[in-house]
């Protein structure tokens, strides 16, 4: 691996790689790999057993093929499942022990890890390839009883919580990629907010895929105990490589009585080049359970990266009066493909859900919203409101809206609306007349189109996301 820091591609500024010595598991998916991972992480036996159980289930599962984007067959035996910077194999005790090259990498990504230059008001857990390399603001959080650490650390230090909740939202056997993750997940974040605690700052994980031929399988588990609140941010980038890389994460959220979890993602994995070569396959399973009454889970996502994005952050509204929200922007350009949406499963009484989805398609890209709203028989007086808007730029791209709506309850109301259109020429003309060029005008109008979603993001992310919207569409208007 040569150290190419030079940014040759204007559009994707995170395309550099870092030259760092790695420890890797041998290639291939088998019991030994899983045992290797578990051993590297010094996991207790129960965790290894859990992984092996998932692996055994996996043997009987096949990859799903109903989603719209098709991809070449992945050779699971030709991937590395574990890659860690050598320096981080022994988890550093403090930031001083972290390899300076890593700190440099994160600085380049705009995520300073040094204690002095920490992002104000945001605690960061940085995941580099397969391992968490640093978590900031730890002490301050500990004072409030908040646990924010890597999942590997949580498995060792908080086994009861992990045992109780891991796999409780996404069962071991859910579907191919989720099960694969359960077998081989390497790291990720763990959050526990104790009862009645309002987390005083944004918690954030920053994912970075660096090594080649390596799949990234992280696992995130967030538990908001009774009456607590947390806002969590997730950012991701990867170097430019002309191979496709697999990212199959699992994220589980659990909100107990009166708790609220806000989960925001700005996904900017490498999307591949203009001709569709390379890029990340982002096959992610995200699911939240509103387990307690009056609980709330809100997903916000800005999806601009990846060659293929395939994810449906969902809410299972079990508790009475619980609320699920999904705000999404998915932008696809060149040869990118996105099939994304949500599932809102209404089980409890007076449950409410809201879905706002904005899809923008340019170049030869394909953008699909796929969603399920299911109002169960016992979900009395429940409500859903869905708004899906698509914007097309040019007639080589496609927009697809596929909502599944089931209402089994006469006291519940479901409302769904969707539109597809192109950017209004008159709006462009108006902006041009005020001196803005075509690209500025498009960026402005598209940002306006996405406003409802952008304003859900915490301030720190909103600004970056707005820029990203503009950058992602560069070169898409002629």
């Amino acid at each position: 691996m040569n150290n190419q820091d030079i940014n040759t591609n204007q559009e994707y500024k995170y395309g550099f790689t870092t030259d760092i010595e790695n420890i890797r598991a041998p290639k291939g998916l088998n019991e030994n790999t899983i045992k290797f991972i578990s051993k590297m992480k010094k996991e207790p036996q129960w965790m290894l057993d859990w992984r092996l159980k998932a692996y055994n289930r996996l043997k009987n599962l096949t990859e799903p093929n109903w989603q719209k984007p098709k991809y070449p067959k992945i050779d699971y035996q030709n991937l590395y499942y574990y890659s860690a910077p050598k320096s981080a194999a022994e988890k550093p005790k403090s930031l001083d022990e972290v390899d300076p090259k890593l700190i440099e990498t994160y600085k380049k990504l705009g995520i300073p890890l040094n204690e002095q230059k920490r992002l104000s008001g945001v605690a960061v857990d940085a995941v580099f390839d397969s391992v968490s390399v640093a978590t900031t603001y730890k002490e301050e959080l500990t004072k409030k009883g908040i646990i924010f650490c890597s999942i590997s650390e949580a498995i060792q230090k908080h086994p009861d919580l992990v045992k109780k909740y891991l796999g409780s939202v996404i069962p071991l056997t859910d579907h191919y990629f989720a099960t694969l993750n359960s077998a081989v997940f390497t790291d990720g974040s763990f959050v526990y907010i104790p009862p009645k605690v309002r987390c005083p700052m944004e918690l954030s994980t920053y994912f970075r895929i660096n090594a080649s031929e390596t799949g990234q399988f992280e696992r995130t588990l967030i538990i908001a105990d009774k009456g607590s609140y947390v806002s969590y941010l997730e950012g991701c980038t990867a170097p430019m490589r002309d191979e496709n890389q697999l990212h199959a994460a699992n994220v589980e959220l659990v909100a107990l009585d009166d708790a609220e979890i806000k989960y925001s993602t700005v996904q900017n994995w490498y999307p591949g080049d203009k001709d569709g070569v390379g890029g990340i396959y982002n096959f992610v399973t995200k699911r939240g359970a509103c387990r307690g009454k009056n609980s709330k889970i809100s997903w916000t996502q800005v999806e601009t990266g990846s060659a293929i994005t395939w994810k449906y952050p969902s809410c299972i509204l079990q508790g009475d009066n619980s609320v699920g929200e999904f705000y999404s922007i998915a932008i696809t350009n060149n040869h990118q493909k996105a099939d994304t949406g949500t599932k809102m499963i209404h089980l409890g009484k007076n449950t409410k859900s809201k879905i706002i989805s904005k899809g923008i398609s340019a170049g030869q890209a394909d953008n699909t919203y796929r969603g399920l709203v299911d109002i169960g028989k016992k979900a009395l007086n429940s409500r859903n409101y869905t708004q899906c808007d698509s914007l097309l730029m040019g007639n080589k791209c496609g927009a697809h809206t596929v909502p599944y709506i089931k209402n089994k309850n006469s006291s519940s109301t479901v409302e769904h609306e969707a539109t597809t259109s192109k950017i209004n020429e008159e709006q462009l003309y108006y902006c041009n007349q005020r001196g803005l060029n075509q690209e500025e005008a498009v960026s402005l109008i598209v940002n306006g189109f996405c406003k409802e979603v952008l304003q859900q993001l915490p301030m720190e992310f909103a600004v970056e996301a707005q820029k990203l919207v503009g950058i992602s569409l560069e070169g898409s208007v002629g």
Partner: protein, 244 residues
């Protein structure tokens, strides 16, 4: 400032302008009057550089041929069009839009970009001068604005962007008398020797407030009569038909 020589224009195979000539010197205010459908907005659109028209003839702005210069560059060079129907752009904050617009124009002129604080101060000042409620500026661009608010917003933009050639396309239509005065004040207070105005209107009423140096009558795509301010009064009495 502006010279239009034998301008002919058509759109979708329909001839709209049929040989229009007009010369505006720096500091002058010209009014164009004409019945509905006579091609007034078409003229304004063509001056601003809107796509879609088939054009022959010459357009010269500050001595430069405007042919092949796209809309945004004309704007950056100081041509401002106050639209007859300002379009709504959902989700886009008016202030934010205006600041982006001002800064691109400043950049094109080789001036320094203005920061948010200075910008807000400028807006406040101009809004106050015009007696416009600043609140509309924190709303989405033109979305849900009343007719009057939209027109006032156009004038405020004109004030802030400080252009050299201002085209007002029926900025007076549908306004009550107070709003009309606001708009006229906005224009009058900007008049200077290096600024020119092309005021398109339907009614001579506006010309009581904005006193033009010249009045032209546009009919079926041509200027059929030009004169001083009195021509407007004559039009008001006799109607367009007689003038023709």
């Amino acid at each position: 400032m502006l010279e239009i020589i034998n301008l002919k224009a058509s759109i979708n195979k329909r001839d709209i302008l049929n040989g229009l000539n007009l010369k505006i010197n720096p500091g002058e205010v010209h009014a164009i009057m004409g019945p509905n459908g006579s091609g007034k907005s078409t003229l304004a659109n063509i001056l601003s550089g809107k796509n879609g028209y088939k054009i022959t003839g010459d357009l010269k702005y500050k001595g430069e041929n405007l042919k092949d210069i796209p809309v945004e560059q004309r704007a950056q060079k100081g041509i401002f069009l106050a639209f007859q129907y300002p379009i709504e752009i959902p989700g886009v904050n008016t202030n934010n839009f205006l600041k982006t617009s001002l800064n691109t124009i400043r950049k094109a002129k080789g001036e320094k970009e203005i920061d948010t604080l200075a910008f807000l101060k400028l807006v406040k000042e101009k809004a106050k001068e015009l007696g416009i409620d600043e609140k509309i500026l924190s709303r989405q661009l033109n979305v849900g604005f009343s007719g009057g608010e939209k027109k006032k917003n156009e004038i405020l933009q004109m004030k802030i962007l400080d252009p050299n050639l201002v085209i007002l396309d029926e900025t007076d239509s549908g306004l009550d008398i107070d709003a009309l005065k606001t708009i006229a004040d906005g224009v009058n207070s900007s008049r200077s020797k290096d600024k020119s105005f092309l005021v398109i209107t339907h009614y001579q009423r506006l010309l009581d407030y904005i006193k033009p140096d010249f009045v032209h009558v546009l009919s079926s795509g041509k200027i059929v009569k030009s004169g001083s301010r009195e021509l407007a009064l004559e039009l008001e009495k006799k109607g367009y038909k007689k003038i023709n």
